[in-house]
Structure formats: structure tokens, C-alpha cells
Subunit: 351 residues, 2 copies
Amino acid sequence: MRLPADTPYLYQEIFAQPQVLTTLLLEESERAKAIVQAARDRDIRMIVMAARGSSDNAALYGKYLFGAMVGLPVAMATPSLFTLYQRPPRLAGTLVVGISQSGQSTDIVTVVETAAQQGAMTLAITNDPDSPLAQVAEFVLPLHAGEERSIAATKTYTAQLMALALLATHWAENKTAWRELTAVPAAVSQALSLADNVARMTERYRYMNTCVVIGRGYNYATAYEIALKLKELTYVVAEPYSSADFQHGPIAVIGDGFPVLLIAPQGRVHPEIQRLAERLRERGAELLAISDVPETLALARTPLPLPAQLPEWLTPFTAVVLGQLFAYHLTLTKDYDPDHPRGLTKVTQTR
Amino acid sequence: MRLPADTPYLYQEIFAQPQVLTTLLLEESERAKAIVQAARDRDIRMIVMAARGSSDNAALYGKYLFGAMVGLPVAMATPSLFTLYQRPPRLAGTLVVGISQSGQSTDIVTVVETAAQQGAMTLAITNDPDSPLAQVAEFVLPLHAGEERSIAATKTYTAQLMALALLATHWAENKTAWRELTAVPAAVSQALSLADNVARMTERYRYMNTCVVIGRGYNYATAYEIALKLKELTYVVAEPYSSADFQHGPIAVIGDGFPVLLIAPQGRVHPEIQRLAERLRERGAELLAISDVPETLALARTPLPLPAQLPEWLTPFTAVVLGQLFAYHLTLTKDYDPDHPRGLTKVTQTR
């Protein structure tokens, strides 16, 4: 596809994803295998992940992936214990994974560096194999996503999902999963072919100021990432929830017309999301649904049909693409600049 | 203090907190010691916490507490892996803590039950020692909070914080911490004495629809819990963030007049929150601050002074009380019913 020269970087990067994912599959599968072998040799019993922003959302996908496929509990790091409080927990015997597009955020580098000093196995998943994060980690899995010029991360997010899926698939020695994984780039291409449909849907939300985004299980991460794109790009206060957490209190915010975006692909989580969708409709919510299930799409004021070709555990790749497209087009609808969200820079430094 | 008979349960329960905390300190310290001894005997290296809603926010406090004081990594459970996917991670060798006011949510009970079957050490922290959660756990730490009749949890939240603080203090064998902990009930009383001041502050926010609540470290949990009270009671879409995560993208939502509530007591985290406060002021945000630091209060359009008598690690007890009071009075200001938020029931069942 040839794009006009003034196409926003964000759009170009969203559409680069099939190529980035294919490259990563081809280039890094062997390295992922070697990393997993090292983890097995060291009898790793637990994983700790350290990340911020979109990378933290990718880590959340990893939490479900390593739990379900490898049987390993995954904890999210508490960087302030390493930096501000200087009271890091004991991490020997764990695999500590730092995930960062730039590899530069001080807090994430400090977590991985401290873990390495404690004797933990450490891995950096980053788009910059020369970054400080890569330098302090024992193992590096580079993303090969090419420079990301738009401030809102898209192609590096799905590349991080792929890096984690590569590791989990090899760790589980699951041949079926590997075959399924190789179908992801084509499925993402198909999701991208729906861009025009998504574009038509955003006009209605020109004056949306808040919304809730709901997913669970593998797509809990997707809810977080789509909500983050909406906040970064459209300044909509989009709050992500698991369908279970949402019912323990926050559902009170739902009144007539309140917009709720449901991530609802077929699979184990779907029946629960469907029940919640019905309950939300009764309360007058305006539903948007990313789904490949006709009954769910039928309940939604704004259906965003998902190509139905991936098993549930891989739908985070395609579902997030529809969310990226929705956020991108809503940004244009609201007359904001997709490449330069207010108040953000590409590399964010936190301690 | 004698309250009129038609005082909302919520108000009564907020004001019951000093007594509840004292009772818990007196009644359960020995049991907490015994639980900790059992954990030591079994050489526990990691903690997994399972909870929903306010209890999940208390668990978040536990994550920092056990990390900083005991050096143990803490993972939040992924209940859907146990229930919907039936692929639970391996938990042998860990301490699995289920936290639930009612002890009835199926997903939390399932996590603890599965962990017990796997041979993990299990503990229920609950207000109902006869609940299903208490029955499946090997150890039970009852909260003694008395029946909680208001739907929004208040006294059981701070009781859960206290239960976790008791465990961590004994585990760390930290006498100073123990002495500090015994000062909490009196400090909470003092925070409650500021209720009239807080009440006067809420009128201004009658038409606030969204806000952001920011805390970090020990008070990350406080940000989550105050945001949840605001959602449950006032239907404000209140989104909680750590000051670090907030700067990795979400800060883009901040425009002129956007309300941001900062949890900013003195301590290791304070300088970072103060810098963020200055940055937010430059961007025109409306700041509310719960703080005992004069410079921070001076930056806020709505200062909510915190009594300055607790060390940082215990400020979550007093800071949340100011947040509870703010949410309570804002509920009245908005003419909502504090005891019966729309769409909620006291016990929420999720799988």
C-alpha cells in the first residue's frame, strides 16, 4: 500500500504492524528459544515484569500468557520500592523482564539492574538493543519495529505482545500454539482492512469526554491499551476494567448514554462479557463492541466487527488494532494532531 | 459521639473506624504472629493476593508493605485463569491471601481453594469468619469490623489495611513499626475531626464529572480506593494513577480546569508528587491535595490538610479517611443516596 507523503506517522505505524510482526517471528524465534532454555536451566519459578505505559499493558498480556501456558505466577514490579524507597524485594530465582520501547525510563532500568545484582535472571524486551535497559539486562529480545516516530505507541505494542507470545510458546513447547502464532500477521492485515468501516463510526463520538473500556483474561491488556490510546490521542478519560472488577463498584457510574467499549471476541471470557453487555443495555449504556460474535455486535450501538480467525489467546493482536484505528480516527474527528498529543514526549523519564 | 438516628450508615461506618482499628489491634495481633510463624516455618518466598473492589485496593497496599518491610515479591492473582480458563499457575511454596469483606465472591474463593489443593499456604482476611472464603482457607484473620451496612466499603477497607500491616510488622519483627502502628487509631480520629472542613469543600464539585486521583508507593492503594469511592458514591469517573504511570501517556487528558486529586503526604514519594503538582498547575489543572506539606497545600485550589503525625507507610489510613469524607459529602452535595448507590448490591458475585 502506498501512502501519501503527509500521512501521519501514527497511521503509517499502525499499518506497518503486519510487517513488523512477521519480521519479529522470523528474526527472533531462535533467540526466544535460547532465552527459554536458560530459564529452564535455572529452574525459574516466577516472573516479575517491569514496564510503564503501553509496555506495561503488554506486560499484562504476558501475565495471562505465562500463567495459562507455562503455569508461572507473574508479578508486576513496584518500581518505587527500588527507586524512591530503596527497599527492593528479593528476586533471586525469578526471571525479571523489563519492557520498554525506548529502554530509557530510569525506574525500569533500576528494577532490572537491581534484579541482576541480586542474581535474578534478567531480560530486556526493547526496540533499542543499545539502550540503557538492554545494557543492564543479561538477555535482550529486540523488537525490530523500526523507529517509532509517533508519540502514541502502536507497532511497538503489538511487537511486545509478539515477543512475549514467542517466549511463552517456546517455553510451553506447544506446537499448536506456534502454528497459531504464525497466523497473526495475516490476521492483523485483515483487521487493518476494516479501517474505513472504523473511520465511519467515530463522528458520533466527537463530544464524548469519558468512557469505560472492558475486557477480561487475555484481553484485559487490550482494554488497558485501547483506553490509553484514547487518553493520549483524543483526551477522552477512558477507564479500563476487567468485567469482574467493573461489577465490584465502578458500574455505578453507568447512567443513560454512558459509552462503554467492550472487547468481546469469542472464547472462554465471552459469555461473561455478553451478560454484562445485556445488563449495561438495561441501564441505558451506549455500547461499542469489538467482537466476532453476531449477538454481541447486535447489542452494540456501534459494532466494530473483528475478523474471526484467531483463537482467543491471540485476539489481543487484532482487537487492539481496531482500537488503534478507532482512536486514530476519533483524533481526526476531534481535530487533534495524532502525532503530537499535548504534553507528551516520545521518551518519558520517571524515577 | 452521638449521631442522630437517621444518620446514613456510611457516615456511621466512616466514624466507627478508630474503634474498629483498635479492636483489630487488640484482638488479632497474636493470631497474626502465629500466621507469620507458620509462613516462616514453610519458607514462603512469595505472596499472591486475590481480591476485588476495595479489598483489591487493600491488597495493593499489602504489595508495597510486604515488599518494603519483608522483602517478598507480591503478585496479584489473575482469577480468570482459575475460573474461566481453568489454567491456574503453580502456587506451591507461596502464601495465597484472599481478601474479601463478605468472603463470598466465587472467583476469590476459587483462587484460594485451588491454591490450597496445590499445597500453597492460604489465608483469608475477611469480615465473616464463617464465609465460604474462610472455609476454604487454612488460616483466617477476621476483621471484627461489625456488620457493614452501607454498600460502599469504608471501615472494612481500613481494617484490611490494618490486618496486612499487622502481618507485615510481625513478619519483619520490627518493634518501631509496631509502636507506630498502635498510633493509627488516634490519628484516624484526628483525621475524622476535620470532617466539617472537608464538607465545606465539596460544593464547588457539584458538576464535576471526571477527575484523576494520583498517589504512589504506599499511597498508590489510597488513590485507587478514593477513586473507587468517588465512582461508587458520586458517579464521577475518577481514574487512579501512580504519578509515574500518569506521566507515561494519560497526562494528555489534562487541560484547563481538569480536576486532579493528589495524595501527597510527607515522605519518600512527596518530592515527585510536588514536581508533578507544579507541572499540572502550569497546564491549568485544578488541584485538590490531601497533604501535610504546606507548600503542596498552597498549590491546591482545594487543600485537604492531613494531620501530620504518622510516618509515610501509615498515611494510607488517614489519607483515605479524608477521601471517604470528601466522597461522602460530595454525594450529599450531588443529592445522591450515600447508602444505596445505583446498580450496586453489598455482595457482588463474579466468576
